[in-house]
Amino acid sequence: MDEPMADAPGAQVKVTFTTTEADLQLAESKRQLLVPADIRRYGLSRVLNSESMLDTGSIPFDFLVNGSFLRTSLEDYLASNGLSVETNLTLQYVRSLIPPTYEASFEHDDWVSAVDVLSRTSPSGRWSGDSFQLSQERILSASYDGLLRIWNASGQIITTSPSGSRGGHTASVKAAKFLTNSQLASAGMDRTVRVWKYTETDQFSGDLKPTLELYGHTGSVDSLEVDGASKRLLTASADGAIGFWSTSKVSAPEADASLLPGAHASKRRKVTTSVTAAQRGPLSLMQIHSAPASAAVFDPRDRTVAYSVSQDHTVRTIDLTTSSVVSTMSTSHPLLSLCAIPRAGGAPLLAAGTAARHITLVDPRASAATTSVMTLRGHTNKVVGLSPSPDNEYSLVSGSHDGTCRIWDLRSVRPATKDEGGLGSVSEPVYVIERESRRGSKKVVAGEGCKVFGVVWDGLGIFSGGEDKKVQVNSGRNVLAE
């Protein structure tokens, strides 16, 4: 019925352009336009950039129609949604995300469990203050072989942490973070949190010296969060406890003697360390989860508040000054990762990766009507790494055991379908970053051999480490054109 009309050359669709970005507003008179029905995103972007419209030159735009990005031509969109060509379409234009192109891979000897970046824009760079030099951009990777490695931006190893017999981790490292450009912290399966002093002799060589061993957890420490300003650490462990630690020898309390290595003489295999760092205990150890705790983060605004997630399905808000749980939010799935997305208005939005292959966005405010704001669907395996965008408040990257990192735009929203529970809103990934080592090879079941364990998004790029023993770098700098 309508098809002959749509197929006819010169079929036109009436569109209305809107935007939420203040600097890109169109004049009222120009908002409504008749465009050819076969126009795509690129054409619409050209139209908007033209002299008669915004006159902005060449900002790539993306167009949101009814909450989802326009990926086809307008007539295809209309046909697939069963709309008439005479419908007046409302197109919300936003600055486009540029595909995160592959840049480099850093080879390791064993699985890479965590990655962190030291740069001008990263939190650690900010905490370093003036001592941070311009070209001193470093990448820290933690590996299952128990070593930490520090790389420069061009992929050369600057230093590697000492092995277990010389003061390093005696088992796999599960998390590592820069505190400042001279201090970093790591935690691992040997139940310890270690603080390291990092010094650089020149651009290409440096040294890592353990300064502090923190004991307290009775299970593998799976996640580590740092605050360089107050020199505090936050850990989550498989024993269900959240640890709060100090990185200074002076302020940290004594460690529990029973947890120290060699506490029991009968244990045959004793690790003898030639280098002894000071052994300290936690400022507070909160046994608040009934199942392994998987991640804990500081509130971006207020460093005395922390959030933790666990496999017992809960998100807990912790007041660190009193070491007490303020509120508990239950979800329906075991939670494996967490990141806080700062919001201009107030409390951050918490993104929690679940074992049920999606990311739940949780509003931690007690006053919030619904705790689960949105669900991000698309991963095919456990979501174990999350990192917010350094540039804006509405995008994040997630790493999953399915061997992909996915970039999400929280502005692209559609209501959930019946299969998905029918409640709340759902978003789908904007970009999918595959593992470069898997490019061209056959797709594997359950991300075997290419699981992503850690991901971080910084101005330098998107860094992800995984089972393929590589840290993969994808460009993340210009995903948002300014």
Binding site: A171, M189, L259, S266, K267, A291, K382, H401, E448
Partner: protein, 782 residues
């Protein structure tokens, strides 16, 4: 801090351990015998063997006797190197000894006679000699055809002569043949009423017994009476078959050469064919009619209708004549102006209109018109005429028997699987590393570590979520690790593994095991050594081998964390812990009476609860709540009370060979998997027969497992390489039946040499399960 905690925990456990009495002070040695139920018991052939043996020996004795006789004969017969005179004189002497009455008979038969002493010499009442002859044994070649039974020998005299005697004559030995007992009148009446087979009502003249004739004999009598041949032989005078005159031979027997016309193409036929060909080419003959014309013709043919009674004239009644059927006379309701009561009400009209034309009682509705001129034409006239004609033509018109049942309503009301979430749906982690099959998997009580055992003789511990191997030990270089099971208590980190005849208890040196936990676990394992050396062990009878040896496995393994080795008598296939973690049961299906063993960790004691076990034990398990012990043999599962030491229940799933079973954590339900592809659900309170049988697998089921962490799930693993996940909710209400819904088939394991998935285990809390495959992988499904 940690030791304090453990102290507390131990204290907290003390009251529990007091109630360990429920396990009969932990003494199970031979306490559970099998005498209660002998259903499986196959009667041995011992008795038969004995009988046959004695028979055999008897026979051989007889033979020996005969041989001796023969020896005598031979020695008599064979003349040695003596000369003829001596021989003759010997013979004469011998003959003198024998009683020879008939002279002139050659000596050999006489010899035989002498040897066959078929009589005994007895003294009679008068003191005279009396010859008592042995009974003649009518061997098969004897010509004595009347030898059966004692035969009356009174001769051809009427039996009435003996009426006054208690006997009716004498047998061949001269013994009296006693008169057969005659029943009283009532008995004979009864006998005559319920006529036995072959009853004639006659009495045997010779014996006085009722004379019964067999069917053949009766038939013979009948034939004789009818004047027929007594034997039913073929017709003695058959018609002659005229083989050589009347039968026409089909096969020509002439040897004349085949005429030429048989193999030369006929010129005349060729001519005729050419004629036709020419005609077709010139268009004089059309091979097919033009399609339009053909269709028209076919239509014409189809549309041949005629009125049977078109030209009918009145005829006299005649059975061959079928008159045109008369229509019933019209009634009031067919009137154009019927009375009001014949007019349908509005509901009736609606009902008539809504009904199918076939279901309508009447094909019309009465209608009222004021005047005849207002009556319209009869609308369904043509249709009615057609139906009528069809009736007369006897055209079978099948009436549809419509069933007004929605087929979906016949299905049982089951909730849809999507409402029964969560359950595992996809594989999320693959644990690769074992060479050869993975035989067994177990997730530790905290849900962090996974232990696997495989054909390469290693036990490996993995990080559950990432699939990272964190610990491995090689227990046996030849035999596979058949079972791995964690001790079910969170205060320890102890793994039991079975390989060959050994069961190993180990504390895996996992990096995230704290020194305190490690020490606690080691203490739990070591405490029994003290018990053993203190001599508190039960003294064994001298010369009796203990059912198992508890020992340290050697420094090499001890360095790896393997601390105890228990060697039993045969290959252990199954390990199952008691919920408290002090006892565990092992099953070695090949070990005869010691196939089921219960081990006590705190005493380093192994006991064999069954002195005798009917059938081969397959697997055994402790009840999750009560002091009960379940043992599965190939066909039955027996439940024993460990307190009263008695058999409580016998469950008969009806499977041919049980492979595994698991008890619902609530304790009242049981699932059984069998090698004959069946999964059975038993309600223990309901019956000893299965409540539900599920045959969804194409191959044998190897393992079945309930979720133990509160989720209503269970799963089975099969050799067809798939797992099936079921929702099995046991209601709190005793009156309700359990709900069982299959929710998911998990495929992914490859089938290697006809083995698919060998073991499964559930995560202690989450709806995640791990499977062990013959393809060398373990997989985590969530």
């Amino acid at each position: 801090m940690a030791p304090k905690i453990t102290d507390k925990k131990r204290k907290a456990r003390e009251p529990e351990s007091e109630s360990d009495d429920e396990l009969a002070n932990g003494l199970f040695d031979g306490v559970l015998s099998q005498s209660e139920d002998e259903e499986d018991y196959l009667p041995s052939d011992d008795d038969d063997v004995d009988e046959s043996g004695s028979e055999g020996s008897d026979g051989s004795e007889d033979e020996e006797g005969e041989e001796e006789d023969e020896d005598d004969l031979l020695s008599d017969d064979i003349p040695s190197d003596v000369d003829g005179e001596e021989e003759v004189s010997k013979l004469i002497r011998k003959q003198g000894q024998l009683k020879i009455t008939e002279p002139g008979v050659d000596p050999k038969p006489r010899d035989d006679d002498g040897e066959e002493k078929n009589y005994r010499v007895e003294r009679d009442a008068n003191g005279g000699e009396r010859y008592v002859y042995d009974e003649i044994d009518p061997v098969y070649d004897s010509d004595d055809s009347d030898a059966q039974g004692p035969v009356n020998t009174i001769g051809n005299i009427p039996l009435s002569f003996y009426d006054s005697y208690p006997h009716i004559g004498y047998d061949i030995n001269g013994k009296k043949i006693m008169r057969p007992a005659t029943g009283d009148a009532l008995q004979s009446l009864l006998d005559s009423i319920e006529v036995p087979k072959g009853w004639t009502g006659l009495t045997d003249v010779n014996t006085g017994n009722p004379l019964n004739l067999t069917q053949e004999e009766l038939e013979l009598v009948r034939r004789v009476q009818m004047g027929l041949l007594p034997n039913e032989i073929e017709d003695p005078y058959p018609d002659t078959i005229e083989y050589f005159t009347s039968i026409e031979e089909k096969m020509p027997l002439s040897s004349a050469p085949e005429p030429k016309r048989r193999f030369l193409p006929s010129k005349n036929e060729a001519k005729q064919v050419m004629k036709l060909v020419r005609a077709i080419r010139e268009g004089r003959i059309l091979p097919y009619k033009p399609p339009a014309e053909r269709e028209r013709e076919e239509e014409e043919q189809e549309e041949v209708h005629f009125d049977l009674w078109q030209n009918e004239e009145p005829q006299a009644p005649n059975p061959l004549h079928i008159p045109a059927p008369k229509l019933p006379p019209p009634g009031y309701d067919l009137s154009y102006n019927p009375p009001e009561e014949y007019l349908p009400s509005k509901e009736e009209r609606e009902e008539w209109e809504n009904a199918d034309p076939e279901d309508r009682e009447k094909q019309y509705l009465p209608q009222k018109y004021n005047a005849l001129r207002k009556v319209p034409a009869w609308g369904t006239l043509v249709n009615e005429r057609f139906e009528r004609c069809m009736d007369l033509y006897l055209a079978p018109r099948v009436r549809k028997n419509r069933l007004n049942i929605d087929p979906n309503s016949l299905l049982p009301k089951l909730p849809s699987p999507s409402e029964l979430k969560p359950f595992p749906t996809v594989v999320q982690t693959v644990f690769r590393g074992h060479e050869g099959r993975v035989r067994s998997v177990a997730i530790d009580p905290t849900g962090i570590a996974l232990a696997t055992g495989g054909d390469d003789g290693t036990v490996r511990v993995w990080e559950l979520l990432t699939g990272r191997q964190v610990w491995s030990v090689k227990l046996n270089s030849e035999e596979p690790v058949n079972a791995v099971r964690w001790r079910p208590a969170k205060d320890s980190f102890i793994l039991a593994a079975a390989t060959g005849e050994d069961v190993f208890l180990m504390v895996p040196a996992h990096a995230s095991v704290t020194p305190a936990l490690d020490q606690t676990s080691r203490d739990i394992l070591a405490v029994g050594f003290g018990y053993a050396t203190n001599g508190q062990q039960q003294a064994l009878p001298a010369g009796k081998e203990p059912p198992a040896k508890w020992a340290r496995p050697g420094t090499k393994l001890e360095d790896e964390g393997v601390l105890i080795r228990i060697t039993v008598r045969s290959t252990v296939k199954v390990i199952n812990w008691h919920r408290r973690g002090d006892h565990f049961a092992t099953v070695s299906p090949t070990g005869q009476r010691s196939s089921v063993a219960i081990h006590t960790l705190s005493k380093h004691l192994t006991q064999i609860p069954f002195r005798k076990l009917s059938g081969l034990a397959q697997t055994a398990a402790f009840h999750p709540l009560r002091p009960l012990f379940f043992v599965a043999t190939q066909r039955t599962i027996r439940c024993y009370d460990l307190q009263k030491l008695e058999l409580v229940k016998v469950v008969q799933p009806g499977a041919k060979w049980i492979s595994s079973f698991d008890i619902h954590p609530g304790g009242d339900n049981l699932i059984v998997g069998s090698y004959d592809k069946r999964l059975l659900w038993h309600d223990l309170d309901l019956s000893n027969r299965p409540y539900k049988t599920m045959r969804f697998h194409g191959e044998a089921i190897r393992q079945v497992r309930f979720h133990k962490g509160g989720l209503p799930l269970f799963a089975d693993a099969s050799d067809d390489g798939s797992l099936q996940i079921f929702h099995g909710r046991v209601p709190n209400d005793q009156l309700e039946n359990p709900t069982i819904v299959p929710v998911k088939i998990l495929k992914g394991h490859k089938v290697v040499s006809k083995l698919g998935v060998l073991d499964i285990d559930w995560h202690p809390k989450e709806p995640w399960c791990v499977s062990a495959g013959a393809d060398g992988t373990a997989r985590l499904w969530m």
